[in-house]
């Protein structure tokens, strides 16, 4: 028989966030007759895919012991680029947008690696600066997609399942495998858990950090491209505050800000929890304002539960 403590620490197969996801799923299925339908469930997946893609990259960076506040701005830049460059061809536009995300991730990673400045500060700066780049590029204008294939892509389905949901789930699977089955994944945990020990073990700390920042930049750009195709447009303020939602989802999923602990499956649970809450409460016609309060309350409750269960083993958490 497994102990409750071990269970909540994620030592058993099912993570606590998934219990929560299943609980609210059952709850909303009873509360709203429209909730439990294939179209609504795929709808939730599409709605969560944006924050979900950001959260995949963020999980890597946070396990690595860093944080990235610039994901929202990077998403906005990629969205503006992919819509703005469309007259030159769709492939060029998508590649340029993804490249922009990779470059911003690489810049963040390189600065964190080479200067040793705290990632919180580096990416806070990037968050402000990249937003400036968006305004500089767009001249404060919103762009509308002129290429109909692009807007159609965002609404297309394979069978009954939207393409955006499939892309999100595929990315989740790949990122889960990379984190659990490859050397890079293992080293990411090692660096986040104990940087000194991993240097002593011969792990090249800076490179892994940089790769993870590139990963989060890439996913932010991908999320931007997909969001733009969903809306058929891009606004300069797109993605504002997304970094806060993303961090909320990742923390809900059990990843620790101190680094060295976390999982993609947990993050998927965190993202779905937020998505189901928002969607279900909409279905119950609760004003969207209440979701913000409830989400805050849940996040704090998770922290308290975690503290009570792990009290002796956690080190003091500080940024």
């Amino acid at each position: 028989m497994t102990s409750l403590k071990g269970f909540f620490r994620g030592k058993t197969a099912i993570q606590p966030i998934w219990i929560f996801v299943i609980a609210i799923f059952i709850f909303f299925s009873f509360m709203s007759e429209y909730f439990l339908s294939l179209s609504n469930i795929t709808n939730i997946l599409v709605q969560t895919s944006t924050i979900g893609l950001l959260a995949l990259g963020m999980t890597y960076v946070m396990i690595n012991g860093n944080i990235d506040l610039s994901v929202g701005a990077t998403l906005g830049l990629a969205a503006s680029l992919v819509v703005g460059i469309q007259p030159l061809g769709l492939t060029v536009a998508v590649l340029a947008a993804l490249a922009a995300g990779i470059v911003i991730g690489a810049i963040n990673g390189l600065i964190v690696w080479k200067t040793g400045v705290n990632a919180f500060i580096v990416t806070l700066g990037a968050m402000i600066g990249v937003r400036g780049l968006i305004f500089l590029y767009t001249q404060e204008q919103s762009f509308y997609a002129t290429n109909f294939a692009f807007a159609d892509f965002g609404a297309s389905t394979i069978g009954p399942i939207p393409v955006l949901a499939i892309i999100f789930l595929l990315c989740t699977l790949v990122m889960h495998l990379v984190l659990t089955r490859t050397g890079h994944g293992r080293n990411t945990f090692a660096v986040g858990g104990n940087p000194e020990a991993s240097i002593d073990a011969g792990i090249r700390l800076g490179r892994h950090m940089m790769i993870n920042f590139i990963i989060v930049g890439f996913f932010a750009a991908l999320a931007g491209v997909l969001l733009a195709s969903q809306m058929g447009a891009a606004t300069p303020n797109l993605g504002r505050d997304y970094e806060l939602w993303t961090i909320t989802a990742v923390v809900l999923g059990g990843t620790k800000l101190t680094g060295g602990y976390g999982s993609i499956t947990g993050t998927l649970g965190g993202v779905l929890a937020i998505g189901i809450l928002r969607n279900g409460m909409n279905m119950m016609q609760v004003p969207a304002f209440y979701v913000l309060v409830i989400l805050g309350a849940i996040l704090i409750s998770v922290l308290i539960i975690d503290k009570k269960l792990n009290a002796p083993s956690t080190k003091e958490v500080r940024i």
Partner: protein, 315 residues
Amino acid sequence: MSFLSAQGILVFFLLGMVVFSFFSEQFLSQSNIMTVVRQASIIGIIAVGVTVVIIGGNLDLSVGSLLSFSTVLVVDLHDKIGPVNAILLMFALTLLIGAVNGFLIGFMRLNSLIVTLAMLSAIQGLVLIYSGGQNVDIANQQGTWFAFFGRGYVAGIAVPILLFGLLAIVVQVVMSYTGYGRRIFAVGGNPMAAVYSGIRKNWCVFSTYLISAFCVACAALVLGSRVMGSQNNVGQGYELLVLAGIILGGTSLLGGAGSIWKTVIGVLILGFIQNGLLLMGYPYYIQWIVTWVIIILAVWLDLANKRKRLLTTHS
């Protein structure tokens, strides 16, 4: 030379002022400087409080939402229960939210980044529930003395500037010359050692969030009175601007070090960058890109400087 490297950010600040003054005649005029300081005063007032939290070893991301909350509250209540009651109630409720932050972080010992992130979302929700998603304003804008805080002048100096200056001086004195201030530094620098030397760490952390909330309430007073109305998300993004100012001033996010004086300089630098670039004819968003570069350069140089000093003292 050691003085110069210790005050690197101040030197940088003065250099920047000289450069800007070459490009624009109005830049160094008294009225322009006053305008900049006045614009920076709201972020500055909040930054004073957040600096105390950071010195105590924690973060406060909820100040932006809290600013929305307090501003909406004081503006909305002004017409309903009169200015005096509105201000008192606003201060009480803002301090209450600060106390909730302080309780969760000081006594429950939860991670400050996540708690204040959760509070950021929860408080924003509360504002929207309270206002029903509507913006609020004061009906009779001419016939109330409430305008004093945002638009008034005392001895030729704008009230927001006075309030900013007064708060900065009082808090700086408290932090440098009182036992309380030293205890906050001790708690931020080494919590374990602080506890072993008999400092009540939990109360110290709790109190820093009260100070932060008090400063937000003062900022809300200025903001509400200046605009005589409020959007329900007026403080959105302030938490990060405030942090940018503090970081630029050179206060370490690790806690146990920093000063209000540095934060004032940092906030003013942000203000003068904005103003100087605008006077030189650049669009407003260029300042964001410049801020990005300056934040990273400033922190990097500061860090390199500290490493060098560490090496010379050890060898």
